[in-house]
Amino acid sequence: MIEIRNVTKTFDDGKNKIIAVDNVSIKIEKGEIYGIIGYSGAGKSTLVRCINLLERPTKGKILFKGKDLTVFSEKNLREKRKKIGMIFQNFNLFNSRNVYHNVAYPLKGSKLSKSEEKKKVRELLQLVGLSDKENSYPSQLSGGQKQRVGIARALANDPEVLLCDEATSALDPKTTTSILKLLKELKEKLGLTIVLITHEMTVIKEICDRVSIMEQGRVIEEGNTIKIFSNPEKEATKGFLETATNSSKIFDVLQLKDNIFNIQKDDVLTKVNYLGDCTKDALISEVSRKFKINASILYGNLEILNQTPVGELIVLFIGETASIQKSIDYFREKGILVEVIEHGRNSSKVYTKCS
């Protein structure tokens, strides 16, 4: 649907040259929710603004349904923009217009009659669950309601793509969830393709099919959300994942001097990641019995991403070194990723999805 091809954007004020986006290529398929995550200043907003050419790329192409937008005339570009909706962190509603007229704003010039326009606006408001707020002004709405108006307005010209720049960053967690749920519904109902910028991993976890991690203008890791969650490669990615789980806290606890878990010299501490239905075999008790070791779970976290469970455990193996090695090998055979923490051996990452 959208292809960002080798896009670079530099800002040059004569003195300083900032490379906000550095040779980024991303392909976004029809009907998917694509996340772009990164810390502040990573270049996410600049990148997403390049998609509808609010920001003209210094280099590279933006293909929308196969056509390069960067070569379009201003007039043609404006027509295309109607097919690419956008919502914002600060909602950007027109304060002088009520909800109805905010939503009707982009319909000017669409050749709808007054009554058709009314019908369209009412449909849109119903879609976002704000039918009763037609006559309210933005100042009378809550943040979540404002974003719903923003969404309705962005959808007025039946776009095929919706760009969301930190659309939930100004909202509380509960409202965020409800907006994300709405976006997901819209994707399903309207076959919308959604590009979503955020700095919160929880947002990615909630609704994204695929995700790119951006750092200093570059995409450093890309993949489907389940893969990124279960097997991140880059440190920055892991950093983001930790914000969405508690696993960083357990590491803090493990590093405490007083050794609250009473870990002995020969014990092996591991991080175990699994995916899918590996859980149904009682693996921990199985290895305990089979190899005569003790395995105790110090920490566990389970995420459900697109109906797929993604689990992370911190397991302490206690017993003979050879038996522990066998247990770990056994886990790996079963397609479970085991990483040894605080142990001389290098951890090897063998990963296959459970069948």
Binding site: R81, G85, F88, N92, F94, N95, N98, R153, N157
Partner: protein, 226 residues
């Protein structure tokens, strides 16, 4: 009643006809240049903002030129401006004296002032709104009329109010150098003939003018702010 007035403002009653005539002249000197300046000022203010760097019709040369011209006119004291543009005034109004002759300098004095007021009102419009409008496929003309002039309305009205109030001041100056109006009236009677009651009444009338303009402005602002 009649007696009280005679006691406190005898000179005003004597010059009643002239007073009414002056009010009328002031009204003309405020309303006609006001309306003309409004149109020109809005135009210039819009151009000042939209041709700025990074804005929808960015144009460095045009913007620079406009800035310079406005600054030039703003830096000339009004009394001097009146004298300096006499040839232009003659050309446009046919005369450089009287109320008619005051109209042209008043426009020249007010337009740059109001353009700046407009500029600051429009600058207050959130950049995010312009961006949102662009993302919805709005053209520059659309953005000017449907976003800038509409979202900036409270600020614009405030600017108009201030401009009219300052126009009253300018009209008094113009009056004193031969344009008629309340300023002229107060100087001729109140100042030169020491008829203090005339100065006093003129001040009251001007105060009422200003209050009415402010009041209307406030009501309108309240009406358009949601």
């Amino acid at each position: 009643m009649e007696e009280i007035l005679l006691k406190y403002i005898p000179n005003v009653l004597n010059a009643k006809e002239e007073l009414i005539e002056s009010i009328h002249e002031t009204f003309i000197m405020v309303s006609i240049p006001g309306v003309i300046s409004l149109v020109l000022g809005v135009l210039l203010g819009v151009f000042l903002v939209v041709t700025r760097k990074g804005n929808i019709l960015e144009n460095k040369i045009f913007n620079n030129m406009l800035e310079k011209i406005i600054n030039l006119f703003r830096s000339i004291p009004f009394v001097i401006l009146i004298a300096a543009i006499i040839p232009v005034t003659r050309m446009i109004a046919g005369t450089a004296i009287g109320t008619k002759g005051a109209l042209v300098p008043l426009v020249f004095g007010t337009v740059p002032f109001f353009a700046r007021q407009m500029e600051s009102a429009l600058s207050e419009v959130d950049k995010g709104l312009i961006e949102a409008a662009q993302s919805m496929g709005s053209s520059p003309t659309d953005i000017i009329f449907r976003v800038y002039l509409r979202e900036g309305l409270p600020g614009i009205i405030r600017g108009v109010t201030i401009t009219f109030v300052s126009l009253i001041g300018l009209s008094a100056i113009a009056g004193s150098v031969g344009g008629g109006g309340l300023g002229d009236f107060a100087i001729r009677y109140g100042y030169q003939r020491f008829q203090n009651d005339i100065t006093f009444v003129t001040v009251i009338i001007l105060l009422i003018f200003v209050s009415v303009i402010r009041g209307i402005g406030d009501i309108l602002i309240k009406k358009v702010t949601h």
